[in-house]
Symmetry: C4
Subunit: 354 residues, 4 copies
Amino acid sequence: MGPNLNTAINLADFEPLARARLDDNAWAYFSGGAGDEITLRENRLAWDGLRLLPRVLRPLQSAELGIEMLGRRWPHPLLMAPMAYQALAHPDGERAAALACAAQGAGYVLSTQAGTRLEDVAVLVRDEPGRGPLWFQLYPQADAGLTRELMQRAAAAGYEAIVLTVDAPVSGARDRERRVGFRLPAGVSAVNIPAGASPVDKDWRAAAPTWASVESMLDHAPLPVLLKGVLHPDDACQAAALGAAGLIVSNHGGRTLDTCLATAHALPRVADALQGAVPLLVDGGIRRGTDVLKALALGATAVLVGRPLLMALAANGASGVALGLRLLQDELLMALALTGCDSPAAVSRKLLQG
Amino acid sequence: MGPNLNTAINLADFEPLARARLDDNAWAYFSGGAGDEITLRENRLAWDGLRLLPRVLRPLQSAELGIEMLGRRWPHPLLMAPMAYQALAHPDGERAAALACAAQGAGYVLSTQAGTRLEDVAVLVRDEPGRGPLWFQLYPQADAGLTRELMQRAAAAGYEAIVLTVDAPVSGARDRERRVGFRLPAGVSAVNIPAGASPVDKDWRAAAPTWASVESMLDHAPLPVLLKGVLHPDDACQAAALGAAGLIVSNHGGRTLDTCLATAHALPRVADALQGAVPLLVDGGIRRGTDVLKALALGATAVLVGRPLLMALAANGASGVALGLRLLQDELLMALALTGCDSPAAVSRKLLQG
Amino acid sequence: MGPNLNTAINLADFEPLARARLDDNAWAYFSGGAGDEITLRENRLAWDGLRLLPRVLRPLQSAELGIEMLGRRWPHPLLMAPMAYQALAHPDGERAAALACAAQGAGYVLSTQAGTRLEDVAVLVRDEPGRGPLWFQLYPQADAGLTRELMQRAAAAGYEAIVLTVDAPVSGARDRERRVGFRLPAGVSAVNIPAGASPVDKDWRAAAPTWASVESMLDHAPLPVLLKGVLHPDDACQAAALGAAGLIVSNHGGRTLDTCLATAHALPRVADALQGAVPLLVDGGIRRGTDVLKALALGATAVLVGRPLLMALAANGASGVALGLRLLQDELLMALALTGCDSPAAVSRKLLQG
Amino acid sequence: MGPNLNTAINLADFEPLARARLDDNAWAYFSGGAGDEITLRENRLAWDGLRLLPRVLRPLQSAELGIEMLGRRWPHPLLMAPMAYQALAHPDGERAAALACAAQGAGYVLSTQAGTRLEDVAVLVRDEPGRGPLWFQLYPQADAGLTRELMQRAAAAGYEAIVLTVDAPVSGARDRERRVGFRLPAGVSAVNIPAGASPVDKDWRAAAPTWASVESMLDHAPLPVLLKGVLHPDDACQAAALGAAGLIVSNHGGRTLDTCLATAHALPRVADALQGAVPLLVDGGIRRGTDVLKALALGATAVLVGRPLLMALAANGASGVALGLRLLQDELLMALALTGCDSPAAVSRKLLQG
């Protein structure tokens, strides 16, 4: 008898369940980080290391999880982070993940490197009542025309924002992938971009996006654009000044530059620099309701969750993802109540030990 | 041959003895903490991490453990913390625990969720010569009348104070309990409150106590009321201003909000804010005589010990609890002598490395 | 084939060799510390944790290990710490240890609780050319007359100083000893004090030494008296003011008060307070030549080494102790050379990273 | 089937491959550090412990690895550190290592204690197009004439600089070597110095170099001289003032003085003191491209890599060394790109979290 999905009582529980279902190739791809995986581990440890100083006896009669972001109200502050090739995790791939997110009121960010046409995902979920944000993630393409085309397609399909990933001009040192000789299996490919348009190492220098190329994209974007992968406060301010609609503090889940700052440590500095100019989101290592609470306390409006939901997808498809999101919402509501907060907006940095 | 109770030479020794006697259900309930049990562990590590700077050659001729608290003198500063359903640990349950405490001069705090009628416990011990404090712990009930009735019964039975727990408007993420599917066994129930009066998650919002509801309780309480579960200095000051007779710095033994501040770290801040306005107690992770000494040094008048005495109860009933309390008193007296203190009152923060 | 003494190439190597030769009773006695043995471990870790900032190209032509202390010149700054009942470790007991120390130019401090008459040890070594200091350790006795008599005997036998241990008015929580039910084997006893004169717990309060009783001892002592077991700077200053000839910063090898300050952390504070008023020594956790160098850098004139030499004694009697002392001298000379110092006097706190 | 060289995807991978090929004697010699190997480990941990704060969207169109040093331009900032007796690692010894370095554009520093004539190494590589620096390492010899002769030979053979090691007036406590009874096997010897000229412990005092002897060497050196083994800022300034052409911050790979400062911690202090007066290099614990980046950020112009390239040599001779250097260059280029730097010169301390 293999692992039992019913044993998943928190997000971390999906990892061994997924390991049992994934082959070494897919496992290396999803579980690995760059180099010695120091940042991968530290992303988690950084949340664990923050100490809460709860308040008692505050009114909780109307406690709830709703947030406002980019001019709309959403059921809660959770989104599924963009991750490539979700069909590697489960045959239903992006469809299952997006449906589960919509059913749970969570946002879904489709990857440029999705194995499903962006229009096919959008049509499944865009009219779902009570769903969360529907966004499209974009790697800047060497071909500016292609970038523009992808943004137009996303807007036409019903996506509400573009997430532009700026922290990966090259791949990181993915030692785990190299150790297994990772390859995409037959039948899985990035269907939204033309064959050959994917970044190839030999011309990464020419393809690397710059502030100038991003400014041009922002000027012509049909949708609000959030920049993902910003850790330095000065870069955050520059992005906001150029018209970014929001920022995602991220180190690519520890997959690109090992030993870079954990996102929990970068977030408050970026928040202090931005002074609320644009909404901030964060990803990396979030597994617990208390992690989400801490992200809110440090200045985030919402958070993205990556690997653990991917593991949940691998473990049990859409049901797994839905269960994972349900568990995290439950934990977040408990964390709010136990710190004396009746909503995400009531959370402030004072809840953290100085 | 099973574990031998005679091998218990310190409080930690009772844990493996208890594990051998408890089923998985009870073990999960008593041993577990919230979430990843970070606060559960840190409660211990925080005491371990404090360094003593002892003095030598001070007079010890009259060294002893007695303290003053709430207007009376007690044999020593140890109380058994309130813990629910002690019959899960040993058939003699709260009776055995309360008797052992009385015999050893330790205080006993009966839980609202005791499996024994509060009057039955009180009658066993209240006239015991040399006993410690006898207090009744209360979860604020949604029904204010029920709360008042419980306080009246406690006063009538001979309890000397009410301990009002304010840090648990909801249960925490008790993953261990969920993993075993924890249930109260037949025959164990909270006999002091009407069936159905126990907090149920679906109406926790309405039942959650507030400063207003607590103020009203304090105004009508027939006994001194100590608030248990306060970590923030501002909350401590507000409680004192509203008439609380004392405060117990506690994080519910790490069972509600994971990654909240360890009590050893919260205590000095609360003590500094209160400036002695009301007596302070503390629980969480205390296992050694040096831990008690450190609590006194940081501003506590007395300490509550929970899990290890529960484990002693599981290991050997009243004898176990008595042995545990004896060992801890012996260690405390040694710790006083080895730091040059002849009484708890002689302990000051100067004994701790700055 | 058992462990091979020839494998000892550093002081730590003697521990497994000793373990193989000692029974559980003796092992518990010699290896154990108080409580959870946190201070026992931290004594070591504290030396390990100090970082050296070496200098290069300084003149080493006349590099050597000699020191001045209490008005005499000695071959090097190493002494064997006082330890009771050395016959538990090896049949030759104190005789073997003292001879090995003399042969290696190291000091020897005989314990009050030695199993050999103090005169018998002195006569063996006092005329040895090139030996180190010969001191007698004293636990203050409840009977002041007995204390005076012991000091007179020590002076008459040729001891050059008294080491008065002030940090143990009671034994610590020696859990390891209690776990094995430690008892002195037949034939081993404290022959220098009358049967029944040993401190017994039931009257420790009356027997506990005070500043007043120590002052009286200092006034009548026939030899210079060093106080052993001082950690607090104020106690150190008081001892110097009352006429102590020197101080030994010690926490009794982690055997009395667990979680008290490591000696490497206490030493610089005491040195700063004393400003050179009297010579300072230190023990606790010293295993390496670099540890000795660090002690000198923090203000010590000499160091005492306890357990590892006891383990060497257990492993191979006098030869073991001599080898241990030889290894430590070799390491110390290397450490001096590699930091640019040509003598212990050339070592200063500047060698340590600030 | 033994370990497979093809499994080496980062520098650390060579270590198990080398272990499988080396006997205990050679393994102890190459892998060991001084004492408890605390500095050996900390050299690594210190780089791991530095956190990068990357910048995004900076121009990378002309990203490359070239540096300027001592008046010339080199392909990248990597050199192979001087290590004795490379024939112990592989039959091709220094020849293989030097050739691999030249082929990869890396510098090579030949050890005084090489098993190959310095002229034989030089002739192999000095005319290699695209090679890195070719330097000769020197232990100051007791015989000043011999030192001068070696420098003249090195200059005549085409070496471009002398690396004078100043941190080893004596060997360290090489416990691993002593444990295996390390000896040079037949056929391996230091062929560049006369038999008997190697430092012998019994006269190390007389042979120990001083500032005066070094000054005299610098005055007569036919080549630029870099001092290797400097950790203290004052020593660094003195060396620069006396005419050293550069400095190598090093603790001899943790092989001499255990618990001395890690080089990553010493480097910025030395850089701050020198203010760019002479080029700085560093070695010790560098395994990753991000380590090299951090060294550049802290003020180094180039870095030396020792043990891991020796392990690569042991694993697969010249091919192993070349692969190791290739992997490290690849990682360094990725690290530059991912932090927004298009060359080593663009790296500044601002990339490190303050």
